[in-house]
Symmetry: C2
Subunit: 384 residues, 2 copies
Amino acid sequence: MKSAPLQSGKDMPDDAATNTIVKRSSSKSDAVTMRDVANLSGFSPATVSIVLNNAPLARYIAPTTKKKIEESARKLGYRPNAMARFLRSKRTNSVGVMFFDITDPFCTPILRGIENSLYQASYVPIFTDAHNQRNRFERYLEMVLDRHVEALIVVANWLFVDIHLLADFSKRNIPAATIGWELPGDTVSSVMVDNEGGGRLALEHLHKLGHRKIAFIRGPKTLIDSGPRWKGIQKFAHSVGFEIDQSLAMQLPEEFDPNSGFEGGFRLTEELLQRRRKFTALLAFDDLTALGAIRALTKAGVKVPEQCSVIGFDDVAMSALSAPSLTTVRQPLEAMGNLAVNIVMEGINASQEKRDWTITHHRVAPELVIRESTCAISFAASDD
Amino acid sequence: MKSAPLQSGKDMPDDAATNTIVKRSSSKSDAVTMRDVANLSGFSPATVSIVLNNAPLARYIAPTTKKKIEESARKLGYRPNAMARFLRSKRTNSVGVMFFDITDPFCTPILRGIENSLYQASYVPIFTDAHNQRNRFERYLEMVLDRHVEALIVVANWLFVDIHLLADFSKRNIPAATIGWELPGDTVSSVMVDNEGGGRLALEHLHKLGHRKIAFIRGPKTLIDSGPRWKGIQKFAHSVGFEIDQSLAMQLPEEFDPNSGFEGGFRLTEELLQRRRKFTALLAFDDLTALGAIRALTKAGVKVPEQCSVIGFDDVAMSALSAPSLTTVRQPLEAMGNLAVNIVMEGINASQEKRDWTITHHRVAPELVIRESTCAISFAASDD
DNA sequence: TTGTATGCGTTATCAA
DNA sequence: TTGATAACGCATACAA
């Protein structure tokens, strides 16, 4: 018994057993074409096309004719050939969907949102994943361009990509939108969470709970979210006269593995703990960082939230399931995916009707989700 | 200032602000075609085609000609039109990738594996997500068929789909493979983890650690994995003369939300606890169930792993990050994705060369991953 | 060694 | 109310 040849990538599993082996006869039953329908129904391909597409001219086709043609099509199981159709109509009904790293838990809900809205419009996503590599991104750009996608959606959260990469798209007037990241200028629409508002929300929450000794783990500088979130934090602090203790403010290193946030949060929190400077709350850059921080705190015998509250950002799936479940600032990820699709669809329609369309930069509102990892400060915690 | 029209799905975010508004001129610069290259280089389209595709006949083309053509192509930024190419060659360089529910954490690594292998082969995935709905699945099947994908990969872990749905594919000799689920018979190849072996591995681990009072949370009956895992458990139990206490064996209800496992694990464990029958270890159907169980145990004051070991199945991303981190039976998900691509690629190649190819059912080996949620039985735990 | 002609399956224009 | 016919961009058989 042989198994299918594995040109073994990095880690092929032991392909223990393979059972059935069956030859397939290559009796390829050729796909049924419009011509077939025309023949069976006794009308010309042109008429068939008009009827089946419900084209404007269909108004003038005799009902009986329509019926016959539709019947024939059904009987033969006719399905139009999307590629041939494209060649005439220039419409592929597909959009390129480019992720920078799909293993980032932040991406899954966005993908769901994009897919769902696309589906409603009878479009398919051509899915690509750059693995955080620029050349891979470029290669994929070419591939989706070759396929004449009608639009492009890029999901990323850093500044990896400059305008030049997307220049081909604007040159060809292909609508594009970015999610979680935005290109300066007016070439590409974008959808981002209001990071500054989110930062404010997070600190406000801790502050209202009575926390005054607050540690911070800031995001990597290359992430576009880092700056605004910190700014929101600062602004809120200023507005209530709260002074940020810089010695309690740590910063995540530049790392592009999406799961490195956990490790980073863990490390920095341990470091924080070693400094023996008291804090009763910790505001983390994102959920994974927060989870890592909680881990470090717990390991050091600090109870969350009783002795130290922790708040994250994003609300990835994991956050609701962790112990304690995580208080966080939620990004409406799925809705952001929907929105991005709406944006490019608007562009597609406009382009179709030879209208101009607008490039817009959207900011969606984050939402505070209060779970178990934060609580009002206790006297025990504040005192000792 | 207006924002792009939102035909508001269920939960559109407050689309707070939208800044820039810029009209785009519709100066669509028409794509450059082979004809253009032919004109610029002074040769015929045929020659250009031969050269650019490095067709067999390219052997006879003068080097200087080649150079000129390639130069012209580069200068014009020529890119072949994938659709037009398809119409001749019948090759779309795309494969349909159908998930049953992408929000299942089990899916992400598989998607990564599929994408990566496809990329190596210069294929693009057409991504679809059935949301666990049969009609949606059917609709998507039609859509990918219309697009003439060269192969199909279906990721699911239950028996939702019968052979008839995939009949069109075998009829047209389109290679297909399923991951995490297998169709009886010889129409579709499949990749699955060896669930029985995995079940054995899990119980063996607990048994070796000295546990004898073991609770079980079995999977929903409709999931294809449930039966074999339980069988593996039973077989191992039998082989070492260990008797499974049926009053400690719970069963997850039928539920198709992938995150319901957590809730289910939580509930059933609470129920288990209320029965006041002692157990020192718990073997859960999958990781989410295990996480739910740990949650219930912790809540009830039972320490994991000191007082109760817990083991899961799958090794989803979350499992390494939970507290305590989860001992589990790992499915090589990414590799399974790779493997599925290799399988269908083999089919594609065979089909191309008009050879027959084989349908194979693959079983990949699971791997025990020991983390913090299990430990050797302590006397304290076994006694009281 | 290169060019001409044809057809892939549609749709759109025009004529009937 | 319907049918020829051409064209979309490319690849191939055949001619030159």
